[in-house]
């Protein structure tokens, strides 16, 4: 009578389909067309090469601090491939590859990291929110979008992302609770790269997996090999199908590793070993996926080489467009800082705008003392 165990659904699974040696589990292999598979690889590789290029741009001061996404491509692209363009995609800041796949031009994302608000404007027709820096806060927006879809009777879903560290924020738990209580069509994907800057996973949670957090919200949860794009895709697809049928949210944990620094201002040598980094580099998602595509005869070595060349061209062109935009006088015009704060600019703000305009005019009319001092060419001022 007094004490009986309560039976709780705790069937948290780990899913791996394509292992680090490129061995495939035929039973679990998802059905994807050749075009789909090629598209997935294209965006993984584009993100990887663009990331490498951006590191150089950052070191040369042409863009600012940014978080590389090496090690996160399979989760981002795998999950984003499981939703349609009328579904919504709500990223954090490591979903570079998935954003490219969703239709964000590379030059737009470069503008974001290059210090321009224009980089946060989703392209027309792309149902995405921009990068979100305050961690876990976007999960509540995704939940609200999902709730609104349900209210509207739309058969759409929302896919949203966060890091392991971010799961310690109240916003994460509140989002899961709301989404489950209201059975909102939201797929929460954790990019568990085992570190939040220097803080290891063991300092974020006192339980074995992130996936099991789902249990206490009464929703399905699963851990997948985050370097296995087929597993990520398959798990997300299942969750998307459930959500579309009105069966509510899912929590997916992709286990991976951030093989580079947290951002370009971080030094991981302070908190982890090169051996560990090496081990995880050997589990790289691109290597095994490339072998899978070769084994299936979808992409042979010469096709891969020409894809590399195509991507190099694509990046070159995007960087050129970015630099052109970043040097554009109109885009650099500081008066634009006042343009979008309200639907209609109130009088007090109009006054501040005029004040800045007059100041800039007086300065360029003056002896140019300021320009000379700050070491900038007068040409950059409007």
């Amino acid at each position: 009578m007094p004490r009986t165990p309560i039976q709780l659904p705790t069937n948290i699974e780990y899913l791996s389909i394509l292992d680090e040696n490129a061995q495939i589990d035929k039973q679990l292999e998802p059905i994807l067309s050749t075009a789909d598979l090629k598209r997935m690889y294209h965006f993984m590789l584009l993100a990887r090469r663009a990331d490498e290029r951006m590191l150089k741009l950052q070191r040369q001061g042409r863009i600012g601090t940014f978080p590389q996404s090496l090690g996160h491509e399979a989760i981002s692209v795998g999950a984003a491939s499981a939703i349609g363009s009328s579904d919504w995609h709500v990223p954090a800041y490591r979903e570079f590859s998935g954003m490219l796949l969703r239709g964000w031009p590379l030059e737009t994302l470069l503008l974001y990291w290059g210090g321009f608000e224009e980089g946060a404007r989703p392209p027309d027709g792309v149902n995405d929110l921009p990068y979100c820096v305050p961690v876990a806060s976007q999960l509540l927006h995704a939940t609200g979008i999902g709730m609104a879809m349900k209210i509207a009777g739309d058969k759409k879903v929302v896919l949203t992302f966060f890091g392991d560290g971010s799961s310690s924020e109240g916003d994460f738990h509140e989002a899961l609770n709301f989404a489950s209580v209201f059975q909102a069509p939201v797929i929460f994907v954790c990019q568990n790269n085992q570190f939040a800057i220097s803080v290891p996973l063991s300092r974020q949670m006192h339980c074995a997996t992130l996936a099991q957090r789902a249990v206490s919200y009464g929703i399905p949860g699963i851990r997948v090999d985050g370097n296995d794009i087929l597993a990520v895709y398959a798990a997300t697809k299942e969750a998307v199908d459930r959500a579309r049928q009105g069966l509510g949210p899912t929590l997916i944990e992709g286990l991976t590793y951030r093989t580079t620094a947290h951002t370009t201002s971080d030094d991981p040598k302070k908190y982890r070993s090169p051996e560990e980094e090496q081990l995880w580099s050997s589990r790289d998602a691109l290597i095994r996926f490339r072998r899978y595509l070769a084994d299936r005869g979808i992409m042979d070595e010469s096709a891969r080489i020409s894809l590399e060349a195509e991507i190099e061209q694509e990046i070159k062109e995007a960087v050129r467009k970015f630099e052109e935009a970043a040097g554009d006088k109109e885009l650099l015009n500081p008066l634009h800082m006042f343009d979008y704060l309200y639907a209609e600019t109130p009088e007090f703000l109009e006054r501040q705008r005029n004040e800045l305009q007059q100041f800039l005019a007086s300065r360029s009319a003056g002896p140019g003392r300021m320009e000379a001092k700050s070491g900038e060419s007068a040409g950059r001022d409007p």
């Binding site: 210090g115 310690s168 800057i197 006042f338």
Partner: protein, 326 residues
């Protein structure tokens, strides 16, 4: 005396406070093993151990909420929020609890703690990494707000903040962390909270600023001297709460003119409060309206345009000239 930058001076103060009083502990994300994302807590984990330099999970509300509990139980927590742009997550804990315990328990329960956070722009940082929203805290009765402007006063003010019996928001202008060095005395020194400093004396106009804006303000004062033969007095507020009305008003009574300078947005900002205090206590001494050179009422722009948002010497100079020729 040893020359050091502000980052080192704050680190020194933290070490001194922890060595002097074992109730002082630190907590925050990345403060331990990593030594802080700006290296402010470097070496403290090795020196004082993980029991006193605590790497926490990533949750600002929990960092401040638990610091409040620790303070209530008798510790003297110094909590780090990685960037001021993220301290909205914990604002509720400060407003609803840290700021109120003494008052609502009629002095029985108190919260002697410090929240440190890097604030301000000017380092080409990402979105949400350049905010100056000290006015929010200044508008929260029960909190003190301190913003240093140099290595030496950073060290002295932090020691005072940690010893203070009430919750203190200690904002560190991150563009100053490594901007310049200054002699810092070897022996611990404190500065009273609530006291501004006249850092340049003058007779024609009063320029009032604090934090990172102090440097361009001083630069403008020098230019006024050189180019216009105008003698500007410069006040460094150091404490935003309590605000040192006496020092401000005494100066304005002498000069009859004032310009207030800060990075935070203008409306309902610190400049508005300073102007109100001047009006209340010295209106009839004024020869011209008080001017404000501040951030505009927009989110600080991404870094390609942030310099146009920030106060600079030219803007201050122009405002001072307008005030002088009113």
């Amino acid at each position: 005396m040893a020359e050091m930058n502000m980052a080192k001076a704050i680190n020194k103060a933290l070490g001194e406070a922890m060595a002097a009083d074992e109730r002082v502990i630190m907590l925050g994300a990345d403060v331990g093993v990593n030594g802080g994302v700006f290296r402010i807590t470097e070496g403290l984990y090795a020196r004082f151990g993980e029991g006193r330099v605590i790497d926490t999970p990533l949750a600002e509300s929990a960092i401040i909420g638990t610091a409040i509990g620790m303070a209530i139980y008798g510790l003297r927590p110094v909590a780090e929020i990685q960037f001021a742009g993220f301290d909205y997550y914990n604002y509720h804990q400060l407003e609803s609890h840290a700021a109120r315990f003494r008052n609502r328990t009629r002095g029985r329960i108190t919260v002697p703690m410090v929240m440190r956070a890097p604030c301000g722009g000017g380092i080409r940082a990402l979105e949400h990494h350049s905010e100056s929203r000290e006015a929010i805290y200044a508008h929260t009765p029960g909190l003190k707000v301190v913003i240093p402007s140099s290595p030496r006063n950073a060290r002295a003010l932090l020691l005072s903040a940690i010893q203070d019996p009430d919750p203190v928001i200690y904002y560190e202008p991150k563009s100053l962390y490594r901007a310049f060095k200054e002699d810092v005395p070897d022996q611990p020194e404190t500065l009273p909270l609530g006291q501004a400093r006249v850092v340049r004396s003058g007779s024609d106009i009063t320029l009032i600023s604090y934090g990172a804006s102090l440097r361009p303000t001083l630069e403008a004062a020098e230019q006024l001297q050189e180019e216009d033969g105008v003698s500007a007095e410069v006040i460094d507020l150091l404490s935003i709460v309590p605000l040192d009305t006496v020092t401000i008003v005494t100066s304005v009574k002498k000069t009859g003119r004032a310009v207030v300078v800060h990075e935070g947005p203008r409306s309902c900002g610190i400049g508005a409060e300073v102007a109100a205090r001047i009006n209340e206590d010295s209106l009839l001494y004024l020869e011209a309206p008080i001017k404000r050179i501040t951030g505009y009422d927009v989110p600080i722009p991404y870094f390609s345009k942030e310099k146009y948002f920030l106060p600079d010497a030219d803007k201050i100079l122009q405002a001072a000239r307008q005030t002088l020729s009113f």
